[in-house]
Each structure stands twice: as C-alpha cells, then as structure tokens.
C-alpha cells in the first residue's frame, strides 16, 4: 500500500445465492485508489464490475448476496481508516452521498418518479449538511423543533409540516429557502441554465442528459472524496455522452474528486482515466496506467478486447471477436476463468488460479505467461508460452 491512498479494496469477495446454486460474482478483487485520480474498471457485462462498485457503498443486498471475504478501507481525514464492509450501519450511511457518492447508469430509473428532482437533491443536503442548512436559514439547532429538522431532511409528515408551517412560518420558510438555494447552486454547477425551473420538475419531464446532470449534481453536492460512476453514459445518446463526460471531467478538475469509472467501453478509458483495471469473470486480470495497458496489454483477454475494437483502418471482413463465451460462475472450477477461450491456455492454467504479477511501473497482470515454472513449482511442459518468448514487452 502506498502512503497516499484514499480507498483500498483488499481481496473483495461477493457471492450470490440462488436456487440454482452459489456464484462467486467477485473473487479476490484488490485495488487501490489515490485521491484525485480516475480509475477505470473495465469489463463485459456480468464480469462483476458493477457488483464491485456497489460493494464500495455496501449496497449489495444481503440476501441474496453475501460479502464472502475482504475489506474495503476508506482513509479518513485524521488518518484513521474505516472498513466499509464491517462498519456499523450509521457510519456507512454517513459515508454514502457524503464522502463517497454514486451515479447510476440509467438516470431515468435512478430518480424517484414521484418526487421533483429538487426534492431529491435536497435530501442529500438535509441528510449530511443539516447544520449548515439550519445556519444559513438562521435557525439555531437548539431552537429547531423536530419537525423543522424533518422538513429540512425532506421527511416531515404531511400533517405535521402543515401545522408547523403555520406556527413557525418564518423558520420553515427560511429553511426551505436555504435548501432551495443549495440545490439551485448544485444544479447550476453542472451547467444547468435554469436551475430553479428544473428543480420543480419531475424526472419524466426532463431529457436524458438533463437527468444525468441532476444525478451528478446530487452526487457531488457534498463534495465527496470519491465518485463511483456506474456506466454513466451507456443509456444516453452518443452526442450527449461526450458532453456529460466532459462535464464530469471538468467537475473533477475543479473539486479534486477521485473517480471510479465503471464501463465496458475501452475507447473511453484512454481519454478519461489515469489508470485502468480490466475485469473478467469476477477477477481483475490486468491493471496499470492507462497508456501502459492500452499500448502494450499483457493479458490475453485485454489483448483480445483491444483487437476487437474496430478501427478506421481495419480491413473489411476482419473484425476479430474473442471466441467462446464467459463461463458460468455457479460452482466454477478453481482455475483461470479465461482458459477456456485463451489461445495460450495450458495445463497449469486449468488447475490453478493466476494472481496479479507485477510487471514494473505499476502495471500488473494475472496470467501464468508472466510466471516461471520454478515460481509455481510445476513442470515446464505445463506452462503456457511465456510472454517474453513472443516478444511482447511491458513498455
């Protein structure tokens, strides 16, 4: 572990139980994030990247899910660390939306259709910045009745809020105004031109791009240290995609947020991510700085992914796909999951699970091609063709 880290995921394991069996959706995933950096977590559907992302906020439902192993350490301001997976509920809640936020793939589904977007963004302020809101409204915490607090938190009962609204009209108005101001400024930060009008709208009245801006505003409202972005542009039109990504990048530069960017689209990684981790069937197969990994991928899966991206100069009729399909993860055998599709697969690949092997300069890959027979204590004939033998280098 380096000394300047923000989040450290160590040997994370997540299982899902179903009538058909138990599948290990995330198996021994470890990575680290430093403040201000962007790490892209890349892989195809079902590789476990979403589950990993949700685990960071401990959002995986237990049952049917289960955190089978590992820890997720978050570094606090005073230097202490909190293990998100084992911390009490209250602590985790104080982290969610506050120190670590998440934006979701489909903003249409991630926003409550029954509430205006303004109210939904206000919830974050009410939950994590209550004192600041009360102060701005000029209401002292001691004087604020429980109902006023609840109004600030957007969860006062209908009757109670009407009654208190009459009795303590000044205070309630001040609180509402303070909240609205915060929400409006948060929305304006994401480039929304008329935040007051948007605030009063319902999600279905807004366009996809607008909804995503609202979600981003909501996530960044409390200036989190880490933003987990789960495929934030997949559900958007291509033209809007670029704009939203630029927006996120801009906000990151201004606020210094670290971003964990989940995507299946390798082409976005180069532009937006400092580092990238490639996942396959629940495991990280390769990790390193973006330019290193993209320029000289060291894992057969990564190589296949990159080769499959059609480029302008790809001759006609030569689209490459990786043969085979992702293995079932229910009662999966203890071996390299990619072996069934890998051109280099050999005996040892089908018997052992590869671990991350350092390749120099922060680049690592989990592939036996980078190990020697002596390290693993197996016969040389069981080993796959070494990477060095085919002239693939790390730089």
């Amino acid at each position: 572990m380096s000394d300047n880290w923000l989040l450290s995921v160590e040997n994370l394991g997540v299982r899902f139980h179903s009538p058909r069996g138990t599948s290990q959706a995330v198996d021994g995933v470890s990575f680290e994030m430093k403040p201000h950096e962007t790490l892209a977590l890349v892989g195809e559907t079902g590789c476990g990247k979403s589950v990993t992302a949700r685990s960071i906020l401990r959002l995986v439902a237990e049952p049917p899910g289960e955190y089978s192993s590992g820890s997720i350490q978050l570094r606090n301001e005073d230097g202490s660390t909190t293990d998100i997976l084992s911390a009490p509920e209250k602590v985790v809640r104080s982290i969610r939306g506050n120190r670590i936020s998440m934006i979701f793939q489909d903003p249409g589904k991630a926003l409550n259709p029954a509430l205006t977007v303004g109210r939904q963004v206000a919830e974050v302020f009410g939950e994590h910045r209550l004192d600041m809101v009360l102060e701005k409204a000029g209401v002292s915490r001691a004087r604020a009745s429980r109902t006023i607090v609840q109004i600030a938190q957007q969860r006062a009962g209908w009757l109670a809020s009407r009654v208190v609204g009459l009795l303590r009209r000044q205070d309630v108005r001040a609180v509402r105004r303070a909240l609205d101001d915060e929400v409006a400024s948060a929305l304006a930060d994401t480039g929304i031109a008329n935040p007051r009008k948007i605030m009063a709208s319902y999600p279905h009245e807004l366009s996809g791009g607008m909804k995503q801006r609202v979600m981003i505003a909501q996530a960044l409202a409390c200036d989190p240290d880490l933003l987990v972005a789960d495929e934030p542009t997949t559900a958007l039109d291509v033209t809007i995609q670029a704009r939203i990504l630029k927006l996120i990048q801009g906000l990151q530069e201004r606020r210094g947020t670290a971003i964990l960017y989940i995507t299946h689209d390798l082409s976005l990684v180069k532009e937006f991510a400092d580092r990238v981790a490639v996942m396959y069937a629940g495991r990280i197969v390769e990790m390193g700085r973006s330019e290193d990994v993209l320029r000289s991928p060291q894992h057969p899966y990564t190589q296949g992914l990159l080769a499959a991206i059609p480029r302008a100069d790809t001759p006609r009729g030569e689209l490459e796909a990786i043969p085979g399909s992702v293995p079932q993860l229910i009662d999966a055998p203890l071996q390299c999951h990619f072996a069934t599709r890998c051109a280099f697969a050999s005996a040892v690949c089908r018997e052992k699970i590869p671990v991350q092997t350092a390749l120099g300069g922060d680049h690592s890959a989990a592939c036996f091609r980078h190990n020697s027979a002596e390290e693993l204590n197996v016969a040389a004939s069981d080993m796959p063709l070494a990477a060095s033998a085919t002239g693939e280098t790390q730089r």
Partner: protein, 337 residues
C-alpha cells in the same frame, strides 16, 4: 391534457350510464305484479289505484311508460316503501348516511391496515410476515362476509358483550343533534364523548367485518407493488445517498407502490357496498343493506328498485373520484379508452 380529457369524458358519460341503469331498473319493474305496485300504499282505494294507473300511462306503449316512470323519478317520486311504511324519498336519506358511515369506516380500516400489512410483506419478501400476509389475503378473498360476521359475533357480542348490535343506543342518539347524519361526526360536533363512544362501540365490529374482504385485496396489491418498487434502481440510489432504510422504504418505495394500489381501493369500494348487505343484516345496522333485505322478504319492489338506483349512482361517483385521485397521484399516467 390527455388525462383531463379522459376524465371529462367520463363525467359526461355518467348521466347517460345512469340513464342506462334506469332502463334496466324499469325493465325489472315490469316483471313485478302490478307496474304501479311500487306507488300504491296499503290503504289506497281501487279508485286511487286506477288514478295511479292512468297517471303512469299503463295503457300506452312501453317506451312511453318508461318516460312517465322516469319523469316520476326525476320529480322525486321513488314510490312507496312497504317496509318503512313511508315514501322512499323520506327514509332513504337516513339509510344512505348510515351505510356510508359504515362503508367509510370499513374502508379506512381496510386501507390503513391493508397498506401497512402489504408494505411489511413486500419489504420482507418471502419471509415470515410475507407468508402470513398472503395467507391472510387469500383467506379474505375466500371467506363469505356473512359467515365471517357471524363468526365474530359469537365471541365479541355473545360471550364478551363488548360490542352491541345496531347503530346506537336510542337515548344517547336522541340526545344530540344530527347535522351530518354520520353518528360519529355528529358526536364530535356536539362535543359529546359519551355519544362518540356509543357510536364507535356500535361501529367497530361491523366495520371490521365489512372491511376484511377489502383489506385482503389491498394487502395483496400493496405487497406486489412494494416488491416491484423495492427492486427499482431509485431505491438503491436513495440508499446510496445515505438515507436511513426507514426513509427509503417510506418516502421512496412506498410512495410509488401506493399509486397502483389506489385502483384497487376504488375496486374495493364496490366490495364494501356489496358486503354491506349481509353485514347490515347480521349486525342490525339500519342502512341500505338491511333495508333491502327486509324488502326482499316482504316483496317490497319500490325499495329494491330505489336501492339499485342509489347504489349504482354512489358506486359510479366513487369510482370516478378514485380515478381522479389516481390521475393526480401518478403524473405519468396515460389513460386510454
């Protein structure tokens, strides 16, 4: 706005449908003995009866008779109620308020208990409370209201004597004014705790029995819409904001789950109206249901016909009101024909 147009169309159709209902009721009256039997009082002379027959144009073709009958209806002449020994229009007001009070009480019980149980069942899906709720719900749909009423009567009335039959204790009832006709509200308005207690004591058991069937469907609907709502992405997103689970369930999931449940609430009002027939009979509740059951036993056609017209009217108005409420709640609703 599409929704508004639909509702306006329903509103306009309403009188026509009522007209249709009146045609059906008129047809039914032609099956009874004398077509003017509903207007004849017991002590009329044959001359008076003949005069009635002339007035209602019994020698004219049927459509004309219908027009005459309808005319009488709109003038407020609903006939003579044999069981009440009075013109229908005189006594029907009290009957309506009595049944409404019972139905509203039963409805409130059904909604509150139903929503609460359904929510718990949906949140704790496939665990203890859920199975209990589903068992409850299917039993509720299979149990005849009249039998359930008798079943509860025995312990609570016979053995424990906690709840009396009927609607009120005569002296206490007579002791206060009745501006609304709803005993409980009148008691509150009169500021009389004694009357309020009397009203509630009489109301509870029949309201619970009546509400039971409706509660069953509401639990079922609420449960399934909660299950759906809890699996929506915005529920996870709300958790990701750091909101306590209680708030997530109440403010995010339940608020959305409640919307489809309102359609069921409209439906269950129909059950309440129908159930009131047996419940009023068993608990001696002086409402429309008891009125019509006596009418059936004594062949009092006027009462029966008036009963059909009134319940149909109430039923349609309530359904429309519920649909308006639904449209208000679900801003995305697109209603079609």
């Amino acid at each position: 706005m599409q929704v508004r147009d639909y509702l306006i169309r329903r509103l306009i159709l309403l009188p026509f449908i009522m007209l249709g209902v009146s045609v059906i009721v008129f047809t039914l009256t032609r099956f009874t003995g004398s077509p003017v039997g509903i207007y004849a009082t017991p002590n009329m002379t044959p001359d008076e009866v003949a005069a009635l027959e002339a007035r209602y144009l019994l020698d004219q073709p049927i459509p004309v008779q219908y027009a005459a009958w309808l005319g009488g209806l709109l003038r407020g002449d609903l006939g003579w109620s044999g069981v009440s020994v009075a013109p229908v229009t005189e006594v029907i007001g009290d009957k309506i308020t009595a049944t409404l009070e019972l139905a509203i009480a039963a409805g409130l019980i059904a909604i509150m208990a139903g929503v609460a149980l359904g929510t718990i069942a949906g949140v704790r899906r496939n665990r203890g409370p859920d199975h209990a709720a589903r068992l409850f719900s299917i039993l509720g749909a299979s149990t005849p209201t009249f039998w359930f009423g008798l079943l509860l009567l025995v312990p609570f009335y016979l053995w424990l004597d906690w709840f009396p039959l009927g609607r009120s204790t005569t002296e206490i009832f007579a002791g206060i004014d009745h501006p609304t006709g709803l005993y409980t509200i009148d008691a509150i308005l009169a500021g009389s705790p004694e009357a309020l207690w009397d009203a509630v004591r009489h109301l509870i058991l029949p309201a619970v029995v009546l509400g039971f069937g409706a509660m069953a469907i509401i639990v079922r609907m609420m449960r399934s819409s909660m299950v759906e709502a809890m699996s929506e992405e915005y529920v996870d997103a709300a958790r990701a904001k750091g909101l306590p689970e209680r708030v997530v369930i109440r403010r995010h999931a339940r608020r959305n789950a409640f919307v489809p449940t309102t359609t069921v609430i409209g439906l269950s009002f129909g059950f309440l109206l129908q159930g009131s027939v047996a419940v009023e009979l068993i608990f001696r509740w002086p409402g429309l249901g008891q009125w019509v059951t006596s009418a059936i036993l004594s062949g009092d056609q006027a009462t029966i016909m008036a009963y059909v017209l009134i319940t149909a009217a109430i039923f349609m108005v309530v359904n429309l009101a519920v649909d308006i409420a639904y449209a208000y709640l679900d801003r995305r609703v697109v209603l079609g024909g």
